[in-house]
């Protein structure tokens, strides 16, 4: 009795201590974002106070400035471009990746693992490896500053990730269930709709969200290949790189607005995020 009691108490105390440490680190990591959110609701003079004005009055001026009602370029075209590029390329990725994943899992081709690894290896090829020829191609075909060029490039950027993820999700569909349905006389479309889809759908949704995030975030292609017409939201943000006097609240509002879709998509896909980022290697 007397030997176990002192053994238990320090363990529990340490458990609480470690829990507090986790909380402390979580808050430290989140602090820049919380500060960004708070600053976005401050007036410019309050945002630039040193020491920081924590309890300053809240205002929407930063957002008004950002959305261009206080003069300056409107971010709407850039936000629309980003939405079009990300959504269209995500749809195209699904269109190409779903059949490919099917041919790599449910009814696999010969040497399917080799094909899978070919897809992965293209992801390891840096963007700068093909940037110049793509730029020259765009210049010569008149597709420079065209959003559909970005759609194609973003599709190639995300297709390997999508193929890997969906392969691993489709492989979770038990072969026996598919065969049972086929023996019962179900044709392929029925099997896909009634048997495969319900099991694989959450995974497919997560894949789509992750592809959307990567497309939305992309800067290098967009910076090199677009201009005034097809510039995306990250390109619009590069306009804030050089200081423009008092503009902290505006920068914070801009960064937050542009990041919101990614934060939303990321938290929606939270459970499958690791699997997607590790290209399906970690479940």
């Amino acid at each position: 009795m007397s030997t176990t009691a002192p053994h238990v108490r320090p363990r529990r105390a340490r458990g609480t201590g470690l829990g507090l440490a986790a909380w402390a680190l979580g808050i430290v990591f989140f602090l820049p974002i919380a500060w960004m959110a708070l600053t976005s609701f401050h007036s410019e003079p309050d945002a630039a106070k040193n020491p920081p004005a924590l309890g300053a009055a809240l205002t929407l001026d930063g957002y008004r400035e950002f959305f261009g009602t206080g003069g300056g370029a409107s971010p709407w075209p850039a936000l629309v471009n980003s939405t079009v590029a990300s959504t269209a390329s995500t749809l195209l990725v699904l269109l190409l990746a779903l059949p490919a994943a099917y041919a790599l899992s449910i009814r696999p081709v010969k040497k399917w693992t080799d094909v899978l690894f070919f897809f992965l290896s293209t992801k390891m090829l840096p963007v700068v490896a093909g940037l110049l020829p793509i730029y020259l191609f765009a210049k010569n075909t008149g597709t420079l500053d065209n959003i559909w060029l970005l759609v194609v490039l973003y599709t190639s950027m995300n297709l390997p990730i999508a193929v890997w993820m969906m392969q691993s999700f489709l492989a979770e569909v038990p072969v026996a269930v598919i065969e049972a349905a086929q023996i019962d006389g179900a044709r392929l479309p029925t099997v896909l709709a009634r048997v495969v889809a319900p099991i694989a759908l959450p995974g497919i949704a997560a894949t789509a969200l992750i592809c959307f995030i990567f497309s939305w975030n992309e800067l290098l292609f967009a910076r090199v290949l677009t201009g005034v017409v097809a510039g995306t939201a990250p390109v619009f943000l590069t306009g804030f790189i050089t200081s423009q006097g008092l503009f902290l609240a505006k920068v914070c509002a801009a960064s937050l607005v542009v990041s919101l879709p990614v934060l939303a998509a990321g938290f929606a896909a939270q459970d499958k995020l690791v699997q997607g980022l590790s290209l399906g290697a970690v479940k």
Binding site: G26, G130, L159, V282
Partner: protein, 311 residues
């Protein structure tokens, strides 16, 4: 399993007639794969081949008539040019520092989050958030809101306790870029390592505890060996992404103050200096570096993949 595979092979002949069906069926199986495969080859492999070809030419796009073949001339120029050599070194330093620091921090966080405590889900959410800020926005946040010497949060906090007011980006430019990247990539490492921790064999851990092993012994002899491949995976995938980093360097320092890495240099040498040949040679060097990392990365992925498959 044998029964189901024979059933799958035996089923089609009922509907097919004669010889060509086998070949037809092989193409029917391959068919769904082809669009994706052809698309990838056309969009990623062809441009790289073109880069390779251009890298052997002396070609400034402002003087297109003067284009000529130089063999390895661009490569010797890239490797002997002090600025370019420096950017190779910067790339290595940036990648290694960011990957190692975020891996260690990620491990600490994963170990803390692997335990049960009040509000674990909330802490996990708080920790993932930095990874979900658009990279340019994150870089702007660090550059203007945290690092600004006059009204940034860092100096604001230092001011509150009577500390010095350093100009972070001018004094330690590379460190400033690295810190912002560590902030964004630590959650990534944490997620991978947490998945690794949660895939441990709990019976084995229980058995070790019953046998009187203490926490450190369990960590050293059971957890760490199990985590090894997850650490490798995190390090390699992180390297693949950070070697290519452009956003943070472009935004925080615009490649100045000795922080230009290879992707930035490639961007600059063709986008601003119009040196197509040089840019391509530098690009090929980035690819060679990535291939070295990628070879190891692919090996780790394939070993994890095989293990998952055999489970």
């Amino acid at each position: 399993m044998t029964a189901t595979t024979t059933a799958r092979v035996a089923a089609p002949p009922v509907r097919t007639h004669g010889q060509p069906s086998a070949r037809l069926r092989a193409w029917a199986t391959r068919g769904p794969l082809l669009p994706a495969l052809i698309f990838m080859i056309a969009v990623t492999q062809l441009p790289f081949v073109a880069t390779l070809v251009i890298s052997f030419f002396d070609w400034n796009s402002l003087y297109p008539k003067a284009r000529r073949f130089t063999g390895f001339g661009n490569y010797t120029e890239v490797l002997t040019d002090a600025d370019l050599r420096h950017s190779v070194w910067t790339t290595v330093l940036l990648t290694v520092t960011v990957v190692l620091v975020s891996l260690v921090l990620g491990l600490v966080l994963a170990l803390l989050l692997d335990r049960r405590f009040r509000g674990r889900g909330i802490v996990r959410t708080l920790l993932i958030a930095p990874f979900l800020v658009v990279p340019v926005a994150a870089a702007l946040l660090w550059k203007h809101v945290l690092y600004n010497p006059e009204y940034g949060l860092l100096n604001g906090l230092l001011h509150a306790v009577g500390g010095p007011q350093p100009d972070w980006i001018s004094n330690t430019p590379l460190l400033a870029v690295e810190a912002s990247l560590v902030w964004q990539w630590t959650p990534f490492m944490m997620l991978i390592l947490l998945a690794g921790l949660q895939s441990r064999d709990h019976q084995q851990l229980e058995a070790a505890r019953v046998d009187g092993a203490n926490d450190w012994q369990i960590f050293r002899h059971l957890t760490l060996p199990h985590l090894r491949r997850y650490l490798e995976l995190g390090a390699l995938l992180g390297s693949v992404y950070i070697v290519q980093n452009f956003d943070a360097v472009f935004t925080i320092t615009s490649g100045g103050l000795g922080t230009a890495n290879l992707p930035y240099t490639v961007y600059q040498s063709f986008y601003q200096a119009h040196e197509n040949g040089l840019a391509s040679a530098a690009g090929v060097l980035v690819v060679i570096g990535s291939i070295v990392i990628a070879t190891f990365a692919l090996r780790v992925v394939s070993s994890l993949f095989r293990e998952e498959g055999s489970r």
